[in-house]
Point group: C2
Chain length 271, copies 2
């Protein structure tokens, strides 16, 4: 089986090691084909796309990817965007950097390039990775801002529309590092047909073709499954009123553990 | 039915309103008998017991409790401690202030006074309330310190021995306010025969005689039920290695919701 089919989407919680083992970035290059990998970097989330693009270009080159290009889209209908769409077939891996997920979606969301990128990723034809803002944008329902230090309540999270690569989940990143449990629970309370996936820094949730999430890295992936919620006051409260959420199922997964998105069960590393 | 039997133990998450509605402190006075209440304040958790004792004495007096005394125990075998034990029967309500839960347990833990107080509270003969440190000390397994901003891992929580009033639970307080989900999950991973109860500021979990927890106040009570854990690496990892915890059941309860400790089910306010 080709690695391109095996690993569709790599959702990285931000702050991935860029200096030492580079475990996650190395896994991305390897999944993309190693020395045969043809990688595109999308730095559009960042307000300093040249700088961040160059950083990743250097890293992927040092990790011996076959080819590394930066696609620096700064306007929706720019020649760069059109060219990216025309040439997307030549890439085996696409990497979306951190920055601001609203900026990223504003610049590429639902452009021909993004639509084709989504199709290729969902069919396992490319490896699509995103870190931080690039991870947040993976869902259709996207967390674009929020707070911590309060119980779950409507004002603790701001939602927006993402790239829809993984429409069945809501992603949060820098997860435990920035104490985002309450805001992801709040997002899931609003959209209980989704599954919440919170990813820590230097950690990746790898969505494989068989709908399995595999965990790699230094932190954890937290899965919030609202499938058994027996009571929620989400529809009745406003503003700062705390939520009432009965029967959330929560999994903390560290490296080696997996989660099956369809069966909604965690798979332990010793099995 | 006497209110003394109905409300045994009130576990307050700290920062309860002392100035405006005083909802929680008022509920404590009322449960203790209102104008017939005979209240003892235990300020031993605090390093300024005189000041904090006087604050609560004034509040409970303003709330028209029948009698309010401060029991300022500063040494385990002091005359004050002996006298408190001899006279404990005259009180209908005991209130343990905030401060340092290790100091509180060091000064009163397993003294004749504390043993009798526990017996009376467990038999529903007195209303026992504790806020912040006074709440933390309610379990037998007591969280005495810890951090946030990291995934669950052993070093994120320090445990100690509490007063054992509610031996089936592990309490955490200032819960969402100080982002303590990961540390309570870690505590529960170490003692999965317990139930984790995280209480927000200005919020109380009222443990009634029928083993029901009732929620009152501005925040939430979070219940972490590890009864269905299917996999945990807690026994195998050390230090900063993140935990792997599959199938935690989590309830966020706000005012009006209850939780049945024996049946392990939340009860929604609309039923």
């Amino acid at each position: 089986m080709s690695p391109l089919v095996k690993a569709g989407v790599m959702v990285i919680g931000g702050g991935e090691d860029k200096v030492q083992d580079r475990k996650i970035l190395k896994a991305f290059v390897e999944q993309s084909g190693g020395s045969s990998a043809r990688i595109a970097i999308i730095p559009s989330a960042s307000r300093e796309p040249e700088i961040i693009g160059a950083i990743y270009q250097q890293i992927f080159t040092e990790l011996r990817a076959g080819m590394v290009e930066i696609i620096d889209i700064r306007e929706r209908d720019s020649p760069t965007s059109v060219l990216a769409h025309e040439q997307i077939d030549k890439f085996t891996g696409i990497f979306m950097t951190g920055g601001d997920q609203l900026r990223l979606c504003g610049l590429i969301g639902e452009t021909p390039f993004a639509i084709t990128m989504r199709e290729l990723a969902q069919r396992g034809r490319i490896v699509l990775a995103g870190t931080s803002a690039g991870a947040a944008a993976m869902g259709h329902h996207m967390i674009s801002g929020g707070g911590s230090g309060d119980p779950p309540h409507r004002e603790i999270v701001q939602m927006n529309i993402g790239l829809g690569i993984l429409p069945e989940i809501i992603v949060d990143q820098h997860f435990h590092n920035r104490n985002r449990m309450a805001r992801l629970m709040t997002a899931i309370a609003a959209y209980p047909e989704k599954i919440g996936v919170g990813i820590d820094e230097d950690t990746v949730a790898i969505f494989e073709g068989d709908r399995t999430i595999k965990v790699l890295g230094r932190g954890t992936v937290t899965v919030i499954d609202p499938g058994e919620i027996s009571y929620s006051n989400q529809a009745w409260v406003t503003g700062a009123t705390p939520l009432d959420l009965h029967n959330l199922r929560v999994h903390i997964l560290s490296e080696g553990s997996c989660y099956h998105l369809i069966k909604r069960i965690p798979i332990s590393p010793v099995l």
